[in-house]
Assembly symmetry: C2
Homo-oligomer: 333 residues x 2
């Protein structure tokens, strides 16, 4: 067996600032908000002026304070968890595969970049590459942006790998089952909540109207989980978080819904965020800290955030199964 | 079953001028020779001046005369054959697959373009796409250029398909076997030749030195065919055709070798071109007409060009098997 039989698996996620400081956050936001797949509503020169003239002067300091609330001694939660996912998946695949496999991490923004990850895999002779963006629900702003960046970095390679690119797994059996298994133990211990809220990252309605399947895929994920958990219609809701800008976004808005439920005197809400494969500022700060504050301030009883799938064994098993379902012929040699 | 279960298979090849006229050839060459993966030895502005100042003034008329020699009443051989490949593969897959499959043709240069082919597949709801560049041996100038163009056209799509991109099949069982089956009937009828020449498109040595696997893949293809046909070392040779420019290219050069064999008084040469999946100007004019002239003028006895795999049933079966080996999970539903 030659080195060229090594199969590369590239796990990708969004990325994180390198440090919870205004300078590091500015670098991260500058890259993130320059992505045409993310910020596409204004002509580029106008957007450039707003981005560099206003946003990147004001937001980094505020965002850095937010990141500081969730930062760990090991670093950014998203990065730390992603690295654990990589090594856990590597172990599972090492055991299950008959060929050498190399799992790498690449972030769309900041480090480790997709370009570096590709270079590392390429230098190690990987000529069969499976790209797994860790976005279960497809959106152009995340999934397509990842593809664009990978394709652009591939322009620098003379010998392209055979490429397989996964564009989502919102209804994948293993993923749905991992979600259920992340919820059940919490309920076994504490009993079921009055309401289970599924909170996904929002998107401008304009994206959905122009054909992005994200909304429908979020709904399907939720339906499949609710069926599996035998939840009645009054026991759950679906909402969208992280809205920015003045456009209309997907509704209902997570914080508005939590405020309303608090006002209604709901006793206990559990929140799960199935769109985030790893906990990050959007789940740890926006939901578990701020969302909880909102709910309690409005008069709600208790809010529990159900941790992300992260490196839970069921999640890693689901990712390994996903790799096999897309590249079983490669992985079995 | 929804429309979204339709699997798209995009067969790609190089392309052809739309007509054997200087104007059509100029359009084709302008696009072909502007490709950075093809013409990469000079800085872009200098190349642009040479291309537009000299090459595109001189070559189209000469090339048009060459194309006229092989043009058919149906049009350009490459295009006509490619369209037959598409419909033959469509029929085979319709029979073998349990899901709807849509085979499309896209040419890297000129029409039908890769962009149009992608748009058609996308508009028909194809969300699983297998791209099969009909280049059995990988080179950046062909295979990677195809990937670059597809990726660039995908920037215009909001909902990207799950993508599988094949980067070659030089040692594929079905392909090797189809090559042998294209040679055997000729020999059964006329007896074996004194020499079998495998002629591949050449490449600048600089490409190979910088890591392009093309040369080695051509050699492997030839070795596998020779083993299968039980050919002794003196019965065959490998050469490279279509050299342009002043750089060192892969050697030996096809026309030099044919001239030398003619001088040596070789009685019969058969030429096969395994790198061309469909007959085109490089095989029909450069080998079957000009190569033959060269060999006969130098004193050789007879030269037979063994037709390309084209839409031979063995070739279509090999392509169907290739599709199944890369996307069996999609095609079996």
């Amino acid at each position: 067996m030659t080195q060229h039989d090594t199969v590369g698996i590239l796990l990708t996620n969004l990325g994180t600032p390198a440090a919870p400081t205004p300078a590091a956050v500015r670098k991260y936001l500058a890259q993130f908000l320059s992505d045409r797949r993310v910020a596409d509503s204004l002509p580029r020169p106008i957007w450039w002026l707003i981005l560099h003239g206003i946003i990147l002067r004001v937001r980094p300091a505020k965002s850095a304070r937010i990141y500081r609330r969730i930062w760990t001694s090991e670093g950014s939660p998203l990065l730390v968890i992603s690295q654990r996912q990589v090594s856990a998946l590597q172990s599972v695949l090492d055991e299950r595969c008959s060929v050498p496999v190399r799992v790498e991490l690449g972030m769309r923004y900041q480090e480790p970049s997709l370009g570096e990850a590709l270079q590392r895999l390429h230098a190690d002779g990987v000529r069969k590459l499976l790209v797994v963006p860790l976005y279960p629900q497809y959106s152009a702003a995340t999934t397509a942006s990842t593809f664009d960046e990978i394709a652009s970095r591939m322009k620098g390679l003379r010998w392209l790998p055979a490429l397989r690119f996964i564009n989502g797994y919102h209804d994948d059996e293993g993923y749905i089952s991992a979600l259920c298994e992340s919820i059940r133990p919490v309920w076994a211990k504490r009993g079921p909540p009055d309401r289970l809220l599924f909170s996904f990252h929002g998107l401008p309605l304009r994206h959905i109207d122009s054909g992005d399947p994200y909304h429908g895929e979020c709904e399907t994920t939720v339906r499949l989980v609710c069926e599996r958990l035998s939840l009645g219609d009054e026991q759950w809701a679906l909402s969208f978080q992280s809205r920015v800008g003045r456009e209309e976004w997907l509704r209902p808005n997570t914080d508005e819904l939590l405020w309303q439920w608090g006002k209604e005197g709901v006793k206990r809400v559990d929140v799960v965020c199935p769109g985030f494969s790893a906990d990050c500022v959007e789940t740890l700060e926006e939901i578990a800290i701020r969302g909880r504050d909102t709910f309690l301030s409005a008069g709600g009883g208790a809010l529990h955030y159900i941790p992300g799938l992260n490196d839970r064994p069921e999640h890693i098993r689901a990712l390994a199964d996903l790799a096999f379902s897309h590249a079983g012929d490669w992985l079995n040699g």
